[in-house]
């Protein structure tokens, strides 16, 4: 009973953190607060990954998303502060129609996915997940792996060239 109780509790706490963080990201007036809530959300998503036995992916999520992407967002926020005394609305004039559309979209998603019979398999996850991922990356998925490394190189050079001061 202890295991199931703890698992359920963990899932509900983590999903509450994810959803609350997400809501604060999109609705906070202060952009820096949005960025910090993004960090909080990404960290909670890493927790969700741990619950789904994806330990390597959870560590990579914290390392890359929190440690690099969110920090890039924070740097971007700090470097593009608009110093104006006018209190701008942080959402545009289509906020309420957008809200209605999003609710409809969510309903549609849930309706489509809820009763679909997915083939749940009873196989066990591999014991050493990092080793399994490493092997797969080098055997079955080696082409996407190489393509993605070229993509990263291109993005690195492109970002430096685009943002260079003339």
């Amino acid at each position: 009973m202890s295991d199931a109780f703890l698992t359920n509790l963990t899932f509900y706490v983590l999903s509450f953190c994810v959803i609350a963080g997400g809501i604060f990201v999109v609705s906070s007036r202060n952009l820096f607060h949005s960025a910090v809530f993004l960090v909080f959300t990404l960290f909670s998503v890493a927790g969700i990954f741990v619950m789904q036995h994806a330990y390597f992916l959870a560590a990579i999520q914290v390392l890359i998303y929190v440690g690099a992407v969110a920090m890039l967002m924070i740097f971007g926020v700090m470097l593009t502060t608009q110093l104006t005394n006018v209190r701008l609305r942080h959402v545009n004039e289509q906020a309420w129609p957008a809200f209605a559309v999003c609710l409809f979209f969510l309903g549609f998603l849930v309706y489509g996915l809820w009763d679909t019979p997915f083939k749940i398999s009873q196989a066990a996850a591999p014991a050493e997940v990092t080793r399994a991922i490493g092997t797969l990356l080098m055997t079955e998925y080696v082409l996407p792996f190489e393509v993605v490394s070229v993509l990263l190189l291109v993005a690195l050079i492109g970002a430096v060239v685009i943002a260079k001061k003339e």
Partner: protein, 350 residues
């Protein structure tokens, strides 16, 4: 001999027996167990860090041919506790124009991230809180998380010195993370595992320590770790003469104490990783059963912390552009070279 694991198991047996005798459900007992483990881990690391603060002052003093704290207790041992008590009762001055939530949570994030590393550190034989299968990756990920705290401190203080200090600190930390991770990759390639407990068990005797097989890796790691801890020669972000006090300018009292302690915890973390991955962790040089393992661990880590303190009073400070140039133009290619050589070595010798 004086192994702690047996003692800890006995004490926990007593406590859980008492609690279940009092009628607590097994759920609650395991939750209480987790809370106790967390408190004990925090207490142990905090005690070590308090000792390190005193030791830094003594080591710095003797290297500068003076005596350091001598009044409070024998040779000033209780000085840190006196300082902590003083900081606790200092007034918490916060400027009016700060962004209060950001300013408030920055030291919390830095402090918590610094301590979270110790969950997977083997303090002795059987003394790991949780031997994660992705141990070393977890540690690297949590140390990247600390940067967010620095940036929040710099921004939340609404002060140009803090902002610049925060920027410089963050840039330095993220630049040196890359060679640090790549240097550790060499050890992981040889050890074939990410789990810290397994890596220590593989280094049975002094001839099997990974530092002999990865000398370049250790050198790169140690330099990068010194930079990560913002210690001299890389301590421009905290240089008093340059930026007032860097990103901690607007912090006083307990919040400043949290940043200060977090820096020492990071120093201890750097030595702990160096010892665990390169110098055998809690293993004595002659094998796992030669003397108390936690004592070997403490001895080795304290030696490396001493080396960090030694650096501070030996080397001059690097300028910001020299620092960044060094990371990207020297350490990073060397780290790649190290991985290449390690790969070739593994292919030839295995």
């Amino acid at each position: 001999m004086l192994e702690l694991r047996g003692l800890i198991d006995a004490i926990w047996g007593l406590i859980s027996g008492l609690l279940s005798g009092l009628g607590f459900s097994p759920n609650l007992i395991s939750l209480i167990g987790y809370a106790i483990i967390a408190a004990v881990l925090f207490g142990v690391v905090a005690l070590i860090v308090l000792f390190l603060v005193w030791w830094e002052r003594k080591v710095s003093a003797h290297m500068q041919d003076r005596l350091g704290p001598m009044r409070v207790g024998w040779h000033g041992v209780i000085q840190t506790i006196a300082d902590a008590l003083k900081l606790l009762q200092k007034e918490d001055i916060t400027p009016k124009a700060i962004d209060f939530p950001i300013h408030f949570w920055a030291p919390v994030i830095t402090f918590v991230a610094a301590f979270m590393v110790y969950v997977t550190v083997p303090f002795g034989k059987g003394l790991i809180v949780s031997d994660l299968s992705v141990g070393i990756l977890y540690i690297i990920a949590i140390t990247t998380f600390t940067v967010i705290g620095l940036l929040m401190a710099g921004w939340g203080s609404n002060n140009k010195y803090s902002l610049l200090g925060g920027f410089r600190s963050a840039a330095q930390v993220i630049s040196y993370e890359v060679p640090l991770t790549l240097a550790l990759l060499g050890v992981i390639m040889i050890a074939q595992t990410l789990s810290l407990g397994a890596i220590v068990t593989q280094q049975d005797t002094i001839f099997k320590w990974y530092v002999w097989r990865q000398p370049l890796g250790f050198a790169i790691f140690w330099i990068a770790a010194t930079a990560e801890c913002n210690r001299t020669p890389f301590d421009l972000p905290e240089a008093d003469s340059e930026l007032v006090a860097g990103f901690v300018t607007e912090y006083s009292g307990m919040k400043f104490a949290m940043f200060f302690l977090a820096e020492f915890v990071n120093m201890f973390t750097a030595s702990v990783i160096a010892v665990t991955l390169f110098f055998g962790g809690w293993m004595s040089p002659f094998g796992p059963d030669f003397g108390p393992s936690w004592l070997w661990f403490l001895g080795k880590t304290l030696f490396f912390v001493f080396v960090l303190m030694w650096f501070r009073w030996t080397y001059p400070r690097l300028r910001v552009d020299q620092l960044m140039g060094f990371a990207w133009k020297v350490l990073l290619p060397l780290a790649f070279l190290n991985i290449l050589l390690t790969g070739i070595g593994i292919y030839i010798f295995d």
